[in-house]
Symmetry: C2
Subunit: 396 residues, 2 copies
């Protein structure tokens, strides 16, 4: 008599939560500083100073109805204009406020897009490894998730596999670059080729195939030569799902947007469907005070230098110790090959060394663990002997 | 190729928005002070002073990861404990933090509950007049909305009609008291009788019938003898959907909760389904800073005296002018009988007197207009001659 799918989604013991609970218990036994928890993707760098200053200045200088009242469903017009201006400045685009629909973060953006596009029989493609909630969002919308394996050595797109996977039922492709969990970025040549493939397939099947980019990690790249292409410049039917969770270190505030460019087929109708889906899903408007903060702070980015330092420290040490890991261009994860076939068994064994690593089978790439390095550099430094000892244990 | 239901939900010209746009245009022509806009339910009283003080104190004294980081999906444990304590103090209940699931406001609460409960063939009952989004939430979940007419003179429950409407497919009943748009409160004897009917029907059909209360207006009652019964004390299978939108005048912050009491049938399973539905719908957690504010400010209520003053002024004047209107015990709306059969035509004619009134056909009770009195008392005072002239115009 209750929705069984929802019960299961709510009951499933999350590996990440299990690790978190274990970590808390273990910390009580041996001290927090001796447990190396790499399980959570909660940014540990502070928001830019301007963010909290702006919160306070807004509160001190505005009426409550402005601060805390409803904005229009699609979001405050000034906030959307400020975001459009910022995108245009950075990417040479020409978006307007009316191309943007403010949301309660990237998960909401994705779910709303999927619901807006859905018609029965739909298939939605994504590349492995992928954020496990994609499966939840796609399947509970009614569509089928098709996970296309990437090159196993680089996690870059395998275009033959992609072409095989696209058929007349393909409605959309979700791309997440920089990627959670691998940190891989799809460079310009990949995005250009991807656009070409999608255009050919659109022509062949006679309908739009939407490229949905999930880009909460867009700004989290650490090398000058790494550029994250802005997909709308390469492909007409592209929708951008963005969140300020990582760029402004405020994941709890639930603030992001959906971008529906004018160039998208039936752009106005699709924007209406986005608004309708937001309404149907119970999203009245995005949080108002956070919207006003974004208006003032758009374009700022948290100090990401600690992530880069952490990445280099951990990547260099782990590869030296014999671990296999694609060099991550961005995000704040290392995706490391398990030292035995069963990643869960490997994660369990890592616990003996006080290392909490997420076995990543649900990311569609069995045999790997995810290491979130959005932690203190000190934690990484102190954990290195444990990583070394874990690798040694497998050589015996 | 796009979800046609969502397109329609997004495209439908909202009467409220039409009125709002008209009002803006008209204000530019004749001055804002000469247009009497009663269309919007945006609270105009400020939040309690403590709310903004708490925002600032929290920001000044806490780490960003506490302020803006993810909370757990069901909400911050301290916030949930504070809310449970407050409910127990006010209503003599014995809820725990684990009975609460924090949400992005009442719309999210309702949608999540409906999704958690849904199985194919479901019918969900509500009483007329009802907030039009109920239809959207129920129908897009897959269930059928059954609108049960109330007593046409009092908008109180017609128990014969209710009994006729309940059948083996009835999964839930949504109750909204104080009611948007009528302001009517269901008193203790009604809720007790309602509980008895539902218990009999549960017995008869052999399954739970959930009573979902949507109560963003709970605290907005203006007379000492008006008590809004706490439904969980009268009926076992009751779920409470709450929002701080009106009690703390912060509708834009999107913060509320779902209460799943231990007494509910399969309480733990249902709580899991709520968590699963929140996850499936893209709600990662409720906004974090707002959660922390609620922890500190729970139990406070905005100064509602202006609403009472407005209600009395407007109700007394309108009934004196010959309008028919149920005396509203709570919320901040008057639900006034149209002076001609077609409420839309009446609303159009009211515009000639610079009065913006929402024709309420979509509330399931044709022939009425909704007047939101969450405006300045001055606006009400200045509008009275226009209301009188409108009534006179119909007498000619």
């Amino acid at each position: 008599m209750i929705n069984e799918t929802m019960v299961q989604l709510g009951q499933v013991r999350s590996v990440i939560r299990d690790l978190f609970e274990f970590g808390k218990k273990r910390a009580a036994e041996i001290g927090e500083e001796n447990v190396f928890d790499f399980s959570l993707g909660n940014p540990n760098v502070p928001a830019p100073e301007d963010v909290n200053r702006t919160f306070i200045e807004l509160i001190e200088n505005n009426s409550d109805i402005y601060l805390h009242g409803y904005t229009s469903a699609q979001g405050d017009a000034n906030t959307r204009a400020a975001i459009a201006d910022d995108l245009n400045r950075r990417f040479g685009t020409s978006f307007r406020a009316d191309n943007l629909y403010m949301t309660c973060g990237a998960a909401a953006s994705l779910k709303i897009c999927l619901e807006a596009l859905y018609t029965p029989g739909d298939e939605v493609i994504t590349f492995t490894p992928f954020f496990p909630e994609y499966r939840v969002f796609v399947e509970t919308t009614g569509a089928k998730l098709v996970a296309v394996q990437t090159d196993p050595d680089t996690f870059q797109i395998d275009f033959d596999k992609l072409e095989e996977a696209i058929n007349e039922r393909t409605k959309a492709l979700i791309v997440n670059s920089p990627n959670n969990p691998s940190g891989v970025v799809f460079r310009e040549e990949s995005i250009a080729r991807l656009a070409k493939v999608l255009e050919e397939k659109q022509e062949r099947y006679g309908h739009a195939i939407y490229l949905i980019t999930d880009e909460p990690y867009r700004e989290l790249v650490y090398d000058d030569d790494v550029v994250v292409p802005y997909v709308t410049k390469y492909y007409r039917n592209a929708l951008v799902c963005y969140s300020y969770s990582k760029s402004l270190s405020m994941p709890g505030e639930r603030i992001g947007y959906i971008l529906v460019p004018d160039e998208v087929e039936d752009s106005k109708t699709l924007y209406a469907a986005v608004a309708g889906a937001g309404r149907a899903l119970g999203y009245v408007c995005a949080p108002s005070l956070a919207q006003h903060v974004i208006e003032k702070c758009v374009g700022q980015v948290s100090d990401l230098s600690v992530y880069r330092k952490n990445r280099d420290l951990l990547y260099n040490a782990l590869t030296e110790f014999g671990y296999t890991c694609v060099h991550p261009d961005g995000a704040f994860y290392l995706f490391v090959k398990s030292l035995e076939e069963d990643a869960k068994a490997f994660s369990d064994r890592a616990r003996d060394f006080e290392l909490l690593l997420v076995p990543a089978d649900s990311f569609g790439t069995p045999g790997y663990v995810r290491i979130a390095y959005c932690v203190t550099t000190e934690q990484i430094e102190k954990s290195l002997p444990a990583f070394r000892a874990l690798a040694e244990a497998y050589k015996k």
